[in-house]
Subunit: 575 residues, 2 copies
């Protein structure tokens, strides 16, 4: 049940995939010495392992509790959150003018990964604020940002994202919450939101909601959506939370997992006294929302990595202790630890390979985001292309690895006390929220493969090909992806959507295969812990020899037109 931060792999990725040395102190990033990077990795690891991880089971068993007075967090969470705020862990990548440290997002990625591994339900409070910290500087007015951002950055006033309504889930344009402009430039907000993560809690003295709503004469659909900052408490003259703002959690959901995370139904303006301030222009709310959403999508993909890491650690530990059965074909009839059995090792190595590959993709994306934020157009295009892959493939990996983790534990994996079951239940939401993985696949084939007239995708293929001489299967997979993408660009919308998910998986595996190959080459040197390097080589080999090959099996699905799907109707499905 303990958690050990995977510092060696994180450091390896920061050095060789993110290439942090290119970022530190350049392009307006604050400077960091290698010592400072090490201190950050060690420090957040300590917070995660020492404070967040011990609260993981409490969070699951007790969970967040709702009452008419609001949401109460499980015991220990207030103290845990205070440690997070006091350590300044939310400030790393925030702008220095708002109290942030101005460091690359790649470093903040380590923070989110560790906290997510330690306690996914708890870490969401930090994740949501990170989205606001990206969106407000870009879209909010100077006055608004001066008033609110420093407290969001510090973590004293955590932020939330309010998009979903009962009729508006994946289709956010269907939302109905109203915002009416007042004489003083503020707005009155009225409406109901659902699935609001950390919509209410008792961790902090204020909560800053970022709420999508429509002004009375707004056009239909996404073109008529505006973004508002709506606090739980309005501020007094001294800048401290004072008056209640007519915002109320109406209930919380009873979910399969992440019980610590209060998923709220939020009621805004029941008494017509809910004030909000606009972020950006009227009807321009989608831009701010996309900033938040893209940040959140990368962080949700990272949650898949977080749980995969934790589940793998637990499985390795269990398999190294549990004694059961003799090894097939061995001379000795003495029972062995189950890590000695080939099929258990296959599961463990698969877990390692998938986790390392998904982490490499997420960290690579963070590095590209850092470059994009400093004006690198090619990096911007690439991160736009990769965002759906990070989110969908990262969380698909999270579920598969958590399931393997249960399996390695055998019967004990199904018993809640072990913790393997909680990882499996917790991670399942990650394939759904922040745009289901199907939505990610639609985004990939509907918009991303055509970016820059197809150049963005072609340049990714070119990079992979350049580095993969002699890797026949990886090259085959890239060829297959290119052929499918070329067909999809001129295919009907139905055919594109029918192929979207298998194609997303193929392209993700090709990209991860490339990143694992690059790492294997580094690991063939002898710089670093020999055990770590040996595992890196084995994980890369397993990924390239087996998982890349598996993805080739998806070719038929990615090449199949939609005909077969529409050959059956609802009545036939019901037989």
């Amino acid at each position: 049940m303990t958690y050990i931060p995977p510092i060696a792999d994180q450091k390896f990725l920061l050095d060789h995939i993110v290439k942090l040395d290119q970022l530190n102190g350049h392009q307006g990033f604050a400077g960091t010495s290698p010592d400072l990077v090490d201190a950050i990795l060690a420090g957040v690891g300590e917070l995660a392992a020492g404070v967040f991880a011990p609260l993981n089971r409490t969070g699951d068993q007790i969970g967040a509790k709702w009452s008419p007075e609001g949401v109460t967090m499980p015991p220990g969470f207030r103290e845990g959150y205070r440690a997070y705020v006091e350590g300044g862990w939310g400030t790393l990548a925030a702008p220095q003018e708002f109290g942030g440290q101005g460091l690359p997002l790649s470093l903040a990625t380590v923070v989110m990964e560790d906290l997510g591994s330690a306690n996914m339900g708890f870490s969401l409070v930090a994740m949501l604020s990170a989205g606001a910290v990206e969106a407000l500087p870009e879209h909010g007015s100077a006055e608004l940002n001066a008033l609110w951002l420093p407290k969001i950055v510090s973590g004293e006033w955590p932020a939330t994202m309010n998009l979903t309504e009962p009729q508006a889930g994946s289709d956010v344009g269907a939302l109905k919450t109203r915002a009416v402009r007042q004489a003083d430039g503020s707005y009155r907000i009225k409406g109901q939101k659902i699935f609001i993560t950390y919509g209410d809690h008792d961790l902090a003295e204020n909560i800053v909601h970022l709420v999508l709503a429509r002004t009375p004469d707004a056009p239909e659909g996404t073109k008529g959506i505006s973004l508002f900052l709506v606090p739980k408490f309005r501020l007094g003259a001294d800048g401290a939370p004072a008056e209640s703002n007519d915002v109320r959690p109406a209930s919380i959901e009873h979910k399969m997992g992440i019980h610590a995370s209060p998923t709220c139904v939020m009621a805004y303006g029941d008494n017509d006294d809910c004030v909000g301030w606009i972020v950006g222009e009227e009807n321009g709310g989608m831009r701010g929302m996309f900033t938040m959403m893209n940040n959140a999508r990368l962080n949700v993909g990272l949650q898949g990595v977080s749980i995969a890491e934790r589940a793998t650690q637990a499985a390795v530990a269990y398999a190294s202790e549990r004694i059961q059965g003799t090894r097939a074909g061995a001379a000795s009839r003495d029972p062995v630890r189950i890590i000695e059995h080939a099929d258990v090792r296959r599961m463990l190595l698969r877990m390692k390979a998938l986790t390392q590959a998904a982490r490499a993709l997420a960290y690579y994306a963070a590095g590209q985001t850092d470059r994009a934020s400093r004006g690198d157009g090619a990096a911007k295009a690439r991160i736009d292309l990769l965002t759906p892959l990070v989110k969908a493939y990262g969380t698909d990996v999270g579920e598969e690895v958590a399931s393997l983790g249960v399996q390695v534990h055998g019967g004990m994996g199904y018993i809640e006390e072990t913790g393997a079951a909680q990882h499996y239940r917790d991670v399942r939401i990650s394939r759904i929220y922040e745009g289901t993985n199907g939505i990610q696949a639609a985004d990939l084939v509907g918009r991303k493969i055509g970016l820059e007239g197809g150049h963005t995708l072609a340049s990714l293929f070119a990079d992979i090909r350049r580095d993969s001489a002699g890797e026949a299967v990886l090259r085959d997979l890239v060829d297959a992806c290119e052929a499918i993408a070329s067909r999809l660009q001129s295919a009907s919308a139905d055919d594109r959507m029918a192929a979207s998910y298998p194609f997303l998986t193929m392209l993700s595996v090709a990209t991860c295969g490339w990143l694992m190959l690059l790492q294997r080459r580094v690991a063939e040197g002898d710089e670093g812990d020999p055990n770590f390097l040996a595992m890196k080589r084995a994980a890369a080999a397993f990924y390239l020899e087996q998982i890349v090959h598996e993805a080739m099996g998806l070719q038929a699905a990615a090449a199949a037109p939609a005909d077969i799907l529409y050959s059956v109707n609802e009545e036939m499905f019901a037989t």
Copy 2:
């Protein structure tokens, strides 16, 4: 949340895959008219939908409760169980001399499927008794069977299987429970068992435990295991339960799912007053256990089908109602039901195809079991070969389909009220109990592919090839399976085990592809409901064109030697 028994597909399989007409009234089976078969399908469907299904959520939310006095089942379960017993649903395939109806197991398979779909946690009480009803007539003495079997067959005294102990899970030979012979021929039993499904409950006036134990001078390992019948209450002179038999549930487990099913730690003979009667010979207990286990493995594979069916029904219903988003590329901007979106249809059709394929495999296996039980040696060999496939592939499908079911529901899938999450949690145990799926894979490559010097497997390949002219991908998959099997037969134990799981999946898909192909040919005719036939053709086409192709992607894994797994050690895994 409703459940509709899939009678059309069940009937189709009984007719065209089981070929029930060859069994009814022949070879010692009781005769059934088509009307009687229809009545059985309708009757058990009514019990499942009307009585078991409404208790599914109660079972999950309230669950079985332990106290020092024993286990209390959730409200409604006593009445539900009474309906099952009074309907005689446990008696179908039992021998007529013990109060059974002497019908083919293939018909009892429908009963187990429906009850498992309706309420998996509840259906286990029936499943466990079925194992005893197979084992006792074959291995128990006439006297013992006369006394106990009729009440087990009727369901009045449900049976359990007691194998596992803390140190003896997959390695059953390590068990320590003791049995000491008394002057009257009975035995005193003493020991502790864990993970005992329905080890205690308040559904019936007695419980009949079948317990593996060792006599004092027994040899080590599985060769020294004997099987005992150990009731909860000993019988009085009138044959009714009288005296307590010093059997006690010490606790129950807190599990991820199947909360209705009490998973007990059982204490036998704490007061040295636990009496058991031997089933078969001393040290011959493994034979009886294998009979029970093989039956249970087929039924657990069927649980995967049960939950896949239920999850698919729920997803189809939700997707047919939930309105969200416009259809990509459509002229109309009106939002549509999500079943109109291509990627949602892909998920639904995949669910249908996997469910129908796994059902076909399970029913085919039941038909072969019926033939084997009447002396058909080829059928016996084939069912031995297929048992690990039914168990492992059936439950792998169960998990995948239940996960897709959650996904189709989007955010609602993660909320417990929908029911999709319960299916996902419930079905997860099926890949673990009755021999983990890894154990099934080891059984396949360790024992089953070599049956009859390889002839059993060769004859399956020959059957598939005979029927698959023109099906290039299926033939490729059979060729690939044959090549791998041939290599594995002479490979080292490590290499065999390393390849076992991917090979099991490939062989399962090849077999299912064959059964789907046979069904597609029938469905190309026009006999039956046109909607059902259209879905059958689409499901078969999807399976043959996409899923069979996917399995080809496992070739590299199934061909890889174990070297890579043993290139890393425990210390490396921990980095």
